[in-house]
């Protein structure tokens, strides 16, 4: 099937305005008759639930943490982009649009990206109005910084805790609606299935994580804003509870999964210290504004104290390879460059898997006090984890899985191919193409939540009868029974392996074979190993306790079981995509100098996969991508 993204046509600058005007409206008096199920209340879901509640819809919202304020959006450090052009440095909506298309290596839809750039400015205004304490200069104006991959200063920030402050802004708006009664919030509740009736999404099946109760919630539309899936690599910068579960359950009920192989590896994370490691901590890439990446030129210097390696014996590899972007080269490029230095035997720290990020030059230029003001909390965090002082000796960094550009396929209205199922934020595949630029995910989450879904969901709801669902529908019982049966089966296995052991093994397979660099051979290895691990899980896992109680092992087991299925799709997508683009690097497809080599003739499309059964060959659908405004060109950061 050739998929249609339903992008509006005509001059790009007019597309969103025209589309918004063309969308049908729901009569204000009727809005409260429509119930919207919002799964996930991070930036995307929190903003959406608040805005829909405010419009008068009846919203039920769900999250797995004990409060919406804890969604993993909270961890974003660096900042959020907007095309305000306050610094007068040549930025514009068009430039943000252009940079995002190019940064995504020409694998995103133009119209979606345009809309994102257009509403970016509203987001900043909205957050300021909510009381988000963005950084200000001494005159009281909003401050900006430049961020990976951009040559203009368009990033707004709140110290090193931008995500926290934006999320708390959305959480406050959401709290206001909860108090007003327009949103009913269900904390510690995990979605374990999507309910589809006659081909239309009408509800979800959840597990109350405190009591273990399994029940269904029905509505006129279901939105998933459940975040990204890079915990498929086990170690990542995501929170422990981040999973593909909501997306995967929806996929198994018919929603297409788009571009699962587009995963982003972040260049600056604190290196792993041992097998006990449970997660990796990101150090904001804003550090690359002042930090210089280097490794020793000579292998024998790698064991030395970094301050004992003379200047002439240091290889500032990013500055050398990418003179015009230097240390600010985009993430995928910076990550692969770090790996290349380590593969060459010139890495530092445990296992030789690390590069230095050195602030000595910046401290000399602007003083230690200024660096502290800019990144104090990051230096503190680094010291807590490593016991090393980043002001006195260079930090050690290594790339780690960080962000999922892939996600459920959605059209321009953020609706999946299953009518009534909308997908927002990192959970969808839409705007970042094959690589996301820094400070653009927060922007997307809030754009989707505050300024896109409130319009587009109206267009859908206006066309359907409200309340057209019932808990008595046989599909509801079927879904609940399936969830029960799945849990029962897990408890019945009583095997010898813990969930974590199998999860770690999966992570190792994925990181080694489907991580920063992929080849047909490595992907085939992964595709052979994953089903074995899945079998091991379903025959030999041991989960104690029972389902009718607070049981974190059970929660974890459910998520790992879904990763064990999803990992296969991700690897398959990577194998089929015979090109390198953005975060997807196939070693067979590279330029003589090691740069990624795209294949626009064969792969200038979105790959959207249809589920056909566990272990069965999924069916590939394509959505061709057209570039009418940005010239399809080789991405160069030299």
């Amino acid at each position: 099937m050739i998929l249609d993204g339903k992008c509006p046509s005509g001059p790009i600058e007019k597309t969103w305005d025209k589309h918004r005007f063309d969308l049908k409206l729901v009569n204000p008096a009727n809005k409260r008759k429509y119930k919207v199920i919002m799964v996930g209340t991070g930036l995307a879901g929190g903003a959406a639930a608040a805005s829909l509640g405010e419009l008068g819809y009846n919203v039920e919202a769900f999250c797995y943490q004990d409060s919406p304020r804890r969604a993993h959006s909270i961890a974003a450090q660096g900042g959020i982009n907007a095309a305000k052009a306050y610094p007068n440095d040549g930025d514009s909506i068009y430039r943000l649009f252009y940079d995002t298309i190019k940064g995504g290596d020409f694998r995103a839809r133009e119209a979606d990206v345009w809309r994102l750039a257009q509403v970016s400015n509203n987001i900043i205004d909205q957050c300021v109005a909510q009381g988000v304490p963005f950084a200000r200069d001494y005159a009281g104006y909003l401050d900006n910084r430049s961020f990976g991959g951009a040559q203009v200063s368009r990033t707004f920030f709140a110290r090193g805790q931008t995500g926290q402050q934006l999320l708390l802004g959305a959480y406050s708006a959401l709290s206001r609606q909860i108090k007003a009664g327009s949103v009913k919030m269900y904390n510690r509740t995990e979605m374990l299935d999507l309910i589809v009736i006659d081909g239309v999404a009408k509800g979800i099946t959840i597990r109350d994580m405190v009591t273990g109760e399994i029940r269904a919630h029905m509505g006129d539309a279901v939105c998933l804003a459940t975040g990204g899936y890079v915990n498929v690599f086990y170690l990542s910068t995501n929170a422990m509870g981040c999973s593909v579960t909501a997306n995967w359950k929806a996929h198994k009920k018919g929603a297409f999964f788009a571009n699962p192989c587009y995963t982003q590896i972040h260049p600056t994370c604190i290196p792993q210290t041992g097998d006990h490691q449970s997660k990796l901590t990101l150090m904001s890439e804003s550090l690359r504004n002042d930090g210089r990446c280097w490794v020793p030129k000579k292998k024998e210097d790698c064991g030395k104290h970094p301050n004992d390696v003379p200047e002439d014996d240091r290889d500032y590899y990013l500055e050398r390879k990418y003179p015009s972007f230097g240390n600010l080269a985009p993430r995928d490029i910076a990550s692969r460059a770090a790996k290349a230095q380590c593969d060459d035997g010139r890495g530092v720290g445990p296992g030789g898997r690390g590069v230095y990020l050195d602030f000595a030059t910046a401290i000399k230029r602007v003083s230690e006090g200024t660096i502290k003001e800019r990144y104090g909390n990051l230096f503190e965090m680094y010291e807590k984890i490593t016991d090393e002082n980043g002001y006195k000796r260079p930090m050690r960094m290594y790339p780690a899985p960080h962000y999922a550009m892939g996600g459920l396929w959605v059209d321009y209205n953020l609706m999946s191919n299953v009518p009534g199922l909308f997908v927002l934020g990192e959970a969808n595949f839409s705007v970042h193409g094959a690589n996301r630029l820094g400070a653009s995910a927060l922007m997307q989450g809030l754009a989707d939540g505050y300024f896109v879904i409130p319009y587009t969901i109206g267009g859908y709801l206006a066309g359907i009868k409200p309340g057209d669902y019932s808990l008595d529908n046989p599909e509801v019982k079927k879904s609940i029974d399936e969830v029960h049966a799945n849990i029962k089966k897990m408890f019945s296995l009583k095997g010898k392996k813990t969930v974590s052991e199998i999860y770690r093994a999966l992570g190792k397979v994925m990181w080694e074979n489907v991580g920063m660099a992929r080849s047909a051979a490595s992907l085939k290895t992964a595709l052979a190993e994953i089903p074995k691990l899945r079998d091991e899980f379903w025959n030999n896992v041991n989960i104690t306790g029972d389902g009718g109680e607070f049981n974190q092992q059970l929660e974890n087991a459910g998520r790992v079981a879904d990763f064990l299925e999803f990992a296969e799709l991700l690897s398959k997508d990577a194998l089929v995509r015979e090109e390198s683009c953005g975060g997807h690097f196939r070693v067979e497809h590279q330029m003589p100098d090691g740069e990624a080599k795209r294949n626009d003739a064969d792969f200038c499309h979105v790959a959207a996969w249809e589920f056909k059964g566990v272990g069965k060959e999924p069916e590939l659908h394509k959505e061709p991508l057209k570039f009418d405004n940005v010239h399809l060109a080789v991405r160069s950061y030299k």
Binding site: Y171, S278, M381
Partner: protein, 254 residues
């Protein structure tokens, strides 16, 4: 290689186990063996849980998510101190290098009337959400707001607001307070919004509603022990409590 300490240690844990909110709880003893100093406190507990599962014992339940000190989900009293007492550090950021071989470590949940135990070390903190719902927001609509630079905010005020806004909502201040008061948590939000021009219009109703909610949720009164600040992993300052009191007086004077 870096000069990391690779000596492992053996520890004895005394962990609070409680099946559910109404079940009795007690301390159980567990051994944590071959603990690397580079492990985080929660990674140490992960390893203990792995050995428990292998023995068929129900693992220790504890809340956590980001494991980088920002989500506020982790919540353990370690050796009598919320988050373990290391300066500006959540328990998920506490590393084992601050313990030594042979140590006995006591691990308990937040204890406060407003935070019933769910299981073992996990407690119910929804009362903190209730306080925010009472008024911890600016009542602006989505869309139709002024340009971000339309109202200038002097840097000292923006910085003051940010200092207060760093609160992660963990509840350690409540656990550390002899009265189980949530004053520090509440004052941080009140102060953030009271200092910003955007929040000023509702300052009086906000402080009234939020302090009212504090009482209704079963939190104790603040009697200036300042244990909250000592327990707070984000260094939230008790000066915000003074600010709340001023805002409160202003509100009732009007």
């Amino acid at each position: 290689m870096s000069d990391h300490n690779s000596n492992t240690m053996n520890l004895t844990l005394q962990v609070w186990r409680q099946k559910g909110p109404n079940a009795p709880g007690k301390l159980e003893t567990y051994e944590a063996k071959h603990v690397s100093p580079d492990m985080s406190f929660l990674e140490m507990l992960d390893e203990v849980n792995e050995t428990l599962i292998k023995k068929g014992v129900d693992p220790i339940a504890f809340d956590h998510d980001c494991r980088e000190g920002i989500c506020g989900m982790c919540s353990q009293v370690v050796n009598g101190v919320p988050h373990g007492g290391q300066d500006r550090t959540t328990v998920c950021q506490l590393h084992m290098r601050s313990f030594k071989d042979g140590d006995t470590i006591f691990i308990e949940p937040w204890r406060a009337r407003a935070f019933p135990v769910i299981k073992d070390l996990a407690v119910d903190r929804s009362a903190l959400d209730t306080i925010i719902q009472a008024g911890g927001y600016v009542s602006c609509h989505t869309g139709g707001v002024a340009d971000g630079n339309a109202i200038l905010i002097p840097k000292p005020e923006a910085d003051y607001a940010m200092d207060a806004a760093e609160c992660i909502g963990c509840g350690a201040c409540v656990a550390g307070c002899p009265n189980g008061s949530a004053m520090l948590f509440t004052s941080a939000k009140v102060a953030q919004l009271a200092v910003l021009p955007q929040g000023k219009a509702e300052a009086a109703t906000r402080v009234n509603a939020m302090t009212e909610a504090l009482k209704e949720c079963g939190f104790g009164n603040c009697t200036n022990h300042y244990e909250c600040q000592a327990s707070c992993p984000k260094g939230i300052n008790v000066k915000f409590i003074a600010k709340l009191n001023r805002e409160y007086l202003k509100a009732i004077a009007n």
